[in-house]
Symmetry: C2
Subunit: 286 residues, 2 copies
């Protein structure tokens, strides 16, 4: 199901302006959110982050229309993954944006992958660094090739996800998620200044679960009791392996409690009909 500049399309093909800077230059931003029972989990936080990313790039798409697209697809789709994409719109050749701009608003709705919720994963240390000198490292932009290449490389090495250091050599994030380390009862994640996307699940854990921001060297992460990766589709994934090192993150009580917290938040905000078992696997074995 697709929403493009005010029109709904059932199939993926729609009339599109081939001079769109999102298509030609990656000049745009997006957001991915979980929808259950027709409600977007942390919907306001997702939209706020999207609007802030648009402002950072100077893309002035109508907020009301984006709200409308999000609500239309969520109400129709019920359970799934909502993606909102906003590009700077069509433009002539050249890097510098021209005025007036006519931003493109595209919303898509994809089926749920319930097997991803809380699913443990293994991490491969990528050779590609996250470029913290660029504002785009802190925005969810259409420039995802580094993450694609890191994820592809991780898969070729037999891992589920990639861990990226930044150009200073400290821990930044996963290809598609934030990274947290657990030391005893302490929960730590790198600050945004390390080249980190302000993930929505990340911000919930920071605001509601006593986690804190701190720069993390790779050697520190290697000594953590447990690691986990967060994003809006996986929610909280315990890391079972980092390169050759096995980790018992799936048995971590701290991670199990966080998963429980997110599950309760989903119940409170979205639906009583959660598409996964009563207690996440990690919690049961904790």
């Amino acid at each position: 199901m697709f929403w493009l500049n005010g029109e709904i399309f059932d199939g993926p093909r729609a009339p599109f302006d081939l001079t769109d800077r999102g298509l030609l230059l990656g000049d745009g931003v997006f957001d991915t959110a979980l929808v259950l029972g027709g409600r977007i989990f942390c919907g306001e936080a997702h939209l706020k982050r999207l609007f802030e990313a648009m402002a950072a790039l100077g893309i002035r798409a109508d907020h009301g229309q984006i709200h409308q697209a999000a609500e239309a697809l969520s109400a129709r789709g019920k359970d799934g993954v909502l993606r909102l994409t906003v590009t700077r719109g069509p433009g002539p050749r050249g890097l510098r944006p021209q005025e007036p701009q006519h931003p493109t608003i595209l919303a898509t709705f994809a089926p749920l992958s319930p097997n991803l919720f809380f699913a443990p994963l293994s991490l491969h240390l990528s050779a590609i660094r996250r470029n913290e000198t660029s504002p785009t490292s802190r925005l969810k932009t259409l420039n995802y090739l580094d993450a694609i290449l890191a994820a592809r490389d991780a898969a070729e090495k037999g891992h589920d996800e990639a861990l990226l250091l930044n150009c200073a050599g400290r821990v930044a994030c996963a290809a598609a998620g934030n990274v947290f380390a657990v030391f005893g009862q302490e929960i730590v994640t790198p600050p945004l200044s390390e080249g980190v996307l302000p993930g929505i699940i990340r911000s919930v854990i920071l605001a509601e679960c006593g986690a804190r921001e701190a720069a993390l060297d790779f050697t520190e992460v290697m000594t953590a009791d447990a690691l986990f990766v967060t994003n809006s589709v996986r929610l909280i994934s315990p890391v079972t392996r980092l390169g050759d090192r096995a980790l018992r993150s799936s048995e971590s009580r701290v991670i199990g409690d966080l998963q429980h917290h997110i599950r309760q938040a989903l119940l409170a905000e979205c639906t009583a009909d959660l598409p996964f078992p009563q207690a996440p696997a990690a919690h049961k074995s904790g």
Copy 2:
């Protein structure tokens, strides 16, 4: 004029698959080439680089079709800028590419900007670094946001273009071009390993004009006799200013000779009817 997967469109709107990974993730590559008299300047080199970038990303679009698109638009357009875009094509949600792939081939033809040929420019040192740890720093991919932001910032500071250092702090390139420094008769440009795109004009100057590759510190560049920026649309642009420092690059005989060389190559390969004066401005004043 547009060529999309085998069909020609006069206007910019065409039926397009909204799940295209080029649009949603920047998962694709492109090439921009100068066309004069219906002939692509350094056409084979442009296509070779595009095919190599596709191979690096594992995008398997049909080379014959890309040739066809390039020839169809060049023959019709005569004088202009040909852009070939190849994306990994439509795909389901998720970073990792799925098989089978159905790459998208898009060719566009834009009018010439003859006032850009050999036009002098001023450079602003960007705070955004070029990430040489990523293979994408050496490929012309759809991930152009860093360059867009650097160019926007340069314009806001009253400059024409941005100079980007890499994460190691050495000189990499301009937002849309390669950078060369002139020391006496010596012509030097950073090697690809510094996070540099293998520009086509760059490679002509390296192969035919006695230039050489060497890592360049910013302080070295600040002591150069002259600087210039190359790309396929500007060709060779003398740098008149780097931040606050004025440069007499427009009067450089070395740069004038390079411009003459490129002009002769255009005459030999494309057309006797060049859309700019007999001698470039820089050469006249040299």
